[in-house]
Protein backbone atom coordinates (compact mmCIF):
# COMPACT_ATOMS: atom_id res chain seq x y z
CA UNK A 1 0.00 0.00 0.00
CA UNK A 2 1.19 3.55 -0.72
CA UNK A 3 -0.04 6.94 0.36
CA UNK A 4 0.22 9.97 -1.91
CA UNK A 5 0.23 13.17 0.13
CA UNK A 6 -0.85 16.42 -1.44
CA UNK A 7 -0.58 19.90 0.03
CA UNK A 8 -3.05 22.34 -1.52
CA UNK A 9 -2.34 25.98 -0.70
CA UNK A 10 -5.64 27.52 -1.71
CA UNK A 11 -9.10 27.63 -0.20
CA UNK A 12 -11.93 26.55 -2.49
CA UNK A 13 -15.70 26.52 -2.28
CA UNK A 14 -16.95 23.07 -1.16
CA UNK A 15 -18.31 22.18 -4.63
CA UNK A 16 -15.06 23.16 -6.32
CA UNK A 17 -13.00 21.22 -3.81
CA UNK A 18 -15.19 18.15 -4.25
CA UNK A 19 -14.66 18.38 -8.01
CA UNK A 20 -10.93 18.74 -7.46
CA UNK A 21 -10.87 15.54 -5.37
CA UNK A 22 -12.87 13.70 -8.04
CA UNK A 23 -10.45 14.82 -10.72
CA UNK A 24 -7.52 13.51 -8.62
CA UNK A 25 -9.30 10.16 -8.45
CA UNK A 26 -9.55 10.14 -12.26
CA UNK A 27 -5.80 10.77 -12.50
CA UNK A 28 -4.98 7.96 -10.09
CA UNK A 29 -7.30 5.52 -11.80
CA UNK A 30 -6.18 6.68 -15.23
CA UNK A 31 -2.61 5.78 -14.28
CA UNK A 32 -3.75 2.26 -13.47
CA UNK A 33 -3.80 2.45 -9.67
CA UNK A 34 -6.62 1.45 -7.34
CA UNK A 35 -7.70 4.04 -4.83
CA UNK A 36 -8.65 2.74 -1.40
CA UNK A 37 -9.45 5.87 0.55
CA UNK A 38 -9.14 9.65 0.63
CA UNK A 39 -8.53 11.64 3.81
CA UNK A 40 -8.77 15.40 3.89
CA UNK A 41 -7.74 17.85 6.55
CA UNK A 42 -8.51 21.52 6.20
CA UNK A 43 -5.60 23.77 7.19
CA UNK A 44 -5.22 27.50 7.67
CA UNK A 45 -4.34 28.18 4.03
CA UNK A 46 -5.78 25.18 2.20
CA UNK A 47 -5.95 21.43 2.57
CA UNK A 48 -3.82 18.39 3.27
CA UNK A 49 -5.04 15.36 1.32
CA UNK A 50 -3.97 11.74 1.64
CA UNK A 51 -4.74 9.32 -1.19
CA UNK A 52 -4.36 5.72 -0.05
CA UNK A 53 -3.50 3.47 -2.98
CA UNK A 54 -3.55 -0.33 -2.94
CA UNK A 55 -0.39 -0.74 -4.98
CA UNK A 56 3.11 -0.33 -3.59
CA UNK A 57 4.66 2.45 -5.64
CA UNK A 58 8.44 3.10 -5.82
CA UNK A 59 9.65 6.37 -4.28
CA UNK A 60 10.47 8.20 -7.51
CA UNK A 61 7.13 7.23 -9.08
CA UNK A 62 5.32 8.35 -5.92
CA UNK A 63 7.10 11.70 -6.01
CA UNK A 64 5.98 12.14 -9.63
CA UNK A 65 2.44 11.06 -8.79
CA UNK A 66 2.21 13.67 -6.05
CA UNK A 67 3.35 16.29 -8.54
CA UNK A 68 0.71 15.15 -11.04
CA UNK A 69 -1.94 15.35 -8.33
CA UNK A 70 -1.16 19.03 -7.91
CA UNK A 71 1.06 19.02 -4.86
CA UNK A 72 2.76 22.26 -3.85
CA UNK A 73 5.56 22.69 -6.35
CA UNK A 74 8.21 23.69 -3.84
CA UNK A 75 7.39 20.55 -1.90
CA UNK A 76 7.66 18.52 -5.11
CA UNK A 77 11.07 19.96 -5.80
CA UNK A 78 12.28 18.83 -2.38
CA UNK A 79 10.66 15.42 -2.86
CA UNK A 80 12.45 14.81 -6.15
CA UNK A 81 15.75 15.52 -4.41
CA UNK A 82 14.85 13.19 -1.59
CA UNK A 83 13.85 10.42 -3.98
CA UNK A 84 17.21 10.92 -5.72
CA UNK A 85 18.97 10.46 -2.38
CA UNK A 86 16.80 7.41 -1.53
CA UNK A 87 15.42 9.03 1.62
CA UNK A 88 11.99 9.90 0.27
CA UNK A 89 10.14 7.69 2.73
CA UNK A 90 11.48 9.57 5.72
CA UNK A 91 11.06 12.96 4.12
CA UNK A 92 7.65 12.78 2.44
CA UNK A 93 6.39 15.05 5.15
CA UNK A 94 3.03 16.74 5.60
CA UNK A 95 3.47 18.80 8.71
CA UNK A 96 0.92 18.77 11.49
CA UNK A 97 2.30 22.11 12.54
CA UNK A 98 5.03 24.48 11.58
CA UNK A 99 7.66 24.47 14.28
CA UNK A 100 7.56 27.67 16.31
CA UNK A 101 10.69 28.90 17.95
CA UNK A 102 10.29 29.17 21.74
CA UNK A 103 8.67 32.50 22.65
CA UNK A 104 11.55 33.74 24.72
CA UNK A 105 14.22 32.90 22.18
CA UNK A 106 16.33 35.95 21.55
CA UNK A 107 18.49 35.95 18.49
CA UNK A 108 21.28 38.42 17.91
CA UNK A 109 19.38 39.85 14.95
CA UNK A 110 16.28 40.48 17.07
CA UNK A 111 18.37 42.04 19.80
CA UNK A 112 19.99 44.48 17.36
CA UNK A 113 16.65 45.40 15.79
CA UNK A 114 15.01 45.94 19.19
CA UNK A 115 17.90 48.11 20.34
CA UNK A 116 17.77 50.22 17.18
CA UNK A 117 14.02 50.67 17.62
CA UNK A 118 14.58 51.95 21.16
CA UNK A 119 17.28 54.36 19.97
CA UNK A 120 15.08 55.71 17.17
CA UNK A 121 12.13 56.20 19.55
CA UNK A 122 14.40 57.97 22.03
CA UNK A 123 15.86 60.30 19.41
CA UNK A 124 12.42 61.10 17.97
CA UNK A 125 10.97 61.91 21.38
CA UNK A 126 13.90 64.25 22.15
CA UNK A 127 13.72 65.99 18.77
CA UNK A 128 10.02 66.67 19.30
CA UNK A 129 10.67 68.01 22.78
CA UNK A 130 13.19 70.35 21.85
Amino acid sequence: MSVAKVDVDIKLKPEAFKLWVESRKWIIQGLGYRLEKVNVKETEHGYHVWFKIYETIPDDALAVLQFLLGDDQKRCQYNFLRAEANVFKQFNALFNNKYKKPGNAITLKKLIIDTLDHVIDYVRSHIKGG
Partner: protein
Protein backbone atom coordinates in the same frame (compact mmCIF):
# COMPACT_ATOMS: atom_id res chain seq x y z
CA UNK B 1 -12.75 11.95 29.36
CA UNK B 2 -10.70 14.58 27.58
CA UNK B 3 -9.10 13.77 24.28
CA UNK B 4 -6.05 15.10 22.55
CA UNK B 5 -5.99 14.60 18.81
CA UNK B 6 -3.21 14.88 16.27
CA UNK B 7 -3.40 14.07 12.59
CA UNK B 8 -1.51 10.94 11.58
CA UNK B 9 0.86 12.21 8.92
CA UNK B 10 1.23 8.73 7.40
CA UNK B 11 -2.42 8.12 6.61
CA UNK B 12 -4.48 11.24 7.35
CA UNK B 13 -6.34 9.38 10.11
CA UNK B 14 -6.32 10.68 13.68
CA UNK B 15 -4.06 9.81 16.59
CA UNK B 16 -6.12 10.11 19.74
CA UNK B 17 -4.76 10.30 23.27
CA UNK B 18 -6.88 9.80 26.36
CA UNK B 19 -6.60 8.47 29.88
CA UNK B 20 -9.02 5.86 31.17
CA UNK B 21 -8.93 4.56 34.73
CA UNK B 22 -5.51 6.08 35.13
CA UNK B 23 -4.04 4.35 32.06
CA UNK B 24 -2.97 6.48 29.06
CA UNK B 25 -3.97 5.23 25.61
CA UNK B 26 -3.01 6.09 22.07
CA UNK B 27 -5.48 5.00 19.41
CA UNK B 28 -5.66 5.40 15.66
CA UNK B 29 -9.08 6.64 14.58
CA UNK B 30 -10.73 7.04 11.18
CA UNK B 31 -10.89 10.76 10.42
CA UNK B 32 -14.33 10.52 8.78
CA UNK B 33 -16.29 7.92 10.76
CA UNK B 34 -14.42 8.53 14.06
CA UNK B 35 -14.26 4.77 14.61
CA UNK B 36 -11.17 3.40 16.29
CA UNK B 37 -8.94 1.43 13.95
CA UNK B 38 -6.27 0.12 16.27
CA UNK B 39 -4.39 0.76 19.46
CA UNK B 40 -0.93 2.31 19.18
CA UNK B 41 1.90 1.49 21.53
CA UNK B 42 4.10 4.20 20.13
CA UNK B 43 3.98 7.02 17.62
CA UNK B 44 6.87 8.75 15.89
CA UNK B 45 7.44 12.41 16.52
CA UNK B 46 9.35 13.84 13.53
CA UNK B 47 10.96 17.23 13.37
CA UNK B 48 11.90 18.45 9.89
CA UNK B 49 14.15 21.34 9.06
CA UNK B 50 15.09 22.61 5.65
CA UNK B 51 17.74 25.03 4.51
CA UNK B 52 17.57 26.20 0.91
CA UNK B 53 20.46 28.58 0.62
CA UNK B 54 20.59 29.48 -3.03
CA UNK B 55 23.70 30.62 -4.84
CA UNK B 56 22.33 34.15 -5.19
CA UNK B 57 22.40 34.77 -1.46
CA UNK B 58 25.09 32.33 -0.30
CA UNK B 59 28.34 33.83 0.86
CA UNK B 60 31.55 33.01 -0.98
CA UNK B 61 29.51 31.02 -3.49
CA UNK B 62 28.69 28.15 -1.13
CA UNK B 63 25.05 27.41 -1.73
CA UNK B 64 23.47 24.63 0.28
CA UNK B 65 20.28 22.66 0.19
CA UNK B 66 19.87 20.68 3.40
CA UNK B 67 17.10 18.47 4.70
CA UNK B 68 17.29 17.33 8.29
CA UNK B 69 14.89 15.14 10.21
CA UNK B 70 15.02 14.02 13.82
CA UNK B 71 12.73 11.23 14.98
CA UNK B 72 11.83 9.79 18.33
CA UNK B 73 9.12 7.40 19.42
CA UNK B 74 6.61 8.48 22.05
CA UNK B 75 4.78 6.01 24.24
CA UNK B 76 1.30 6.90 25.54
CA UNK B 77 2.90 8.04 28.79
CA UNK B 78 5.27 10.35 26.92
CA UNK B 79 2.69 11.70 24.46
CA UNK B 80 1.11 14.17 26.87
CA UNK B 81 4.52 15.90 27.24
CA UNK B 82 5.26 15.87 23.54
CA UNK B 83 6.11 19.59 23.47
CA UNK B 84 8.90 19.03 25.96
CA UNK B 85 10.22 16.06 23.99
CA UNK B 86 10.05 18.16 20.85
CA UNK B 87 12.36 20.77 22.36
CA UNK B 88 14.89 18.06 23.24
CA UNK B 89 14.66 16.75 19.71
CA UNK B 90 15.20 20.24 18.31
CA UNK B 91 18.32 20.66 20.44
CA UNK B 92 19.73 17.28 19.39
CA UNK B 93 19.05 17.84 15.71
CA UNK B 94 20.52 21.33 15.60
CA UNK B 95 23.60 20.04 17.38
CA UNK B 96 23.91 17.26 14.80
CA UNK B 97 23.61 19.74 11.94
CA UNK B 98 26.17 22.06 13.58
CA UNK B 99 28.58 19.11 13.82
CA UNK B 100 28.54 18.63 10.08
CA UNK B 101 27.71 22.03 8.63
CA UNK B 102 28.66 24.65 11.20
CA UNK B 103 26.87 27.13 13.41
CA UNK B 104 25.83 29.58 10.68
CA UNK B 105 23.63 26.97 8.99
CA UNK B 106 21.95 26.26 12.32
CA UNK B 107 20.99 29.93 12.55
CA UNK B 108 18.83 29.70 9.41
CA UNK B 109 17.68 26.15 10.07
CA UNK B 110 14.62 27.00 12.10
CA UNK B 111 13.21 29.33 9.46
CA UNK B 112 11.60 26.40 7.68
CA UNK B 113 10.72 23.72 10.18
CA UNK B 114 7.74 21.51 10.87
CA UNK B 115 6.52 18.72 13.09
CA UNK B 116 4.50 15.66 12.29
CA UNK B 117 3.26 12.61 14.16
CA UNK B 118 3.19 9.21 12.47
CA UNK B 119 1.51 5.97 13.47
CA UNK B 120 4.09 3.95 11.53
CA UNK B 121 7.41 3.34 13.25
CA UNK B 122 9.69 3.72 10.26
CA UNK B 123 12.91 5.20 11.54
CA UNK B 124 12.77 4.18 15.17
CA UNK B 125 12.29 0.43 15.26
CA UNK B 126 11.81 0.23 19.01
CA UNK B 127 10.11 2.56 21.46
CA UNK B 128 12.77 3.72 23.90
CA UNK B 129 12.64 7.08 25.60
CA UNK B 130 16.39 7.61 25.26
CA UNK B 131 16.67 6.67 21.59
CA UNK B 132 16.47 9.09 18.72
CA UNK B 133 17.22 8.81 15.02
CA UNK B 134 18.32 11.39 12.51
CA UNK B 135 18.79 11.74 8.78
CA UNK B 136 20.50 14.45 6.73
CA UNK B 137 20.26 14.98 2.98
CA UNK B 138 22.23 17.73 1.30
CA UNK B 139 23.65 19.02 -1.92
CA UNK B 140 25.69 22.10 -2.71
CA UNK B 141 24.63 22.62 -6.27
CA UNK B 142 21.99 21.45 -8.74
CA UNK B 143 24.64 19.62 -10.75
CA UNK B 144 25.85 17.38 -7.98
CA UNK B 145 24.10 14.30 -6.63
CA UNK B 146 22.38 14.52 -3.28
CA UNK B 147 24.23 12.92 -0.40
CA UNK B 148 22.74 11.48 2.74
CA UNK B 149 23.73 10.38 6.19
CA UNK B 150 21.65 8.82 8.94
CA UNK B 151 21.96 7.22 12.33
CA UNK B 152 20.37 6.33 15.64
CA UNK B 153 21.81 7.33 18.97
CA UNK B 154 21.08 7.45 22.64
CA UNK B 155 20.22 10.89 23.96
Amino acid sequence: MSLEVETDADTGDEIVYFVRRGIPYLMLRDATTKRFIKRLFGVEQRLFMVVDYAREVARRGNPLYLDAVGVQALTPEMFVERDRYLETLRYLLTRKVAEHFGGFVVDVLLDEAGVEYGSELRSVKAVFESLWCWSLVWKHSKEEEARSMEGCELK
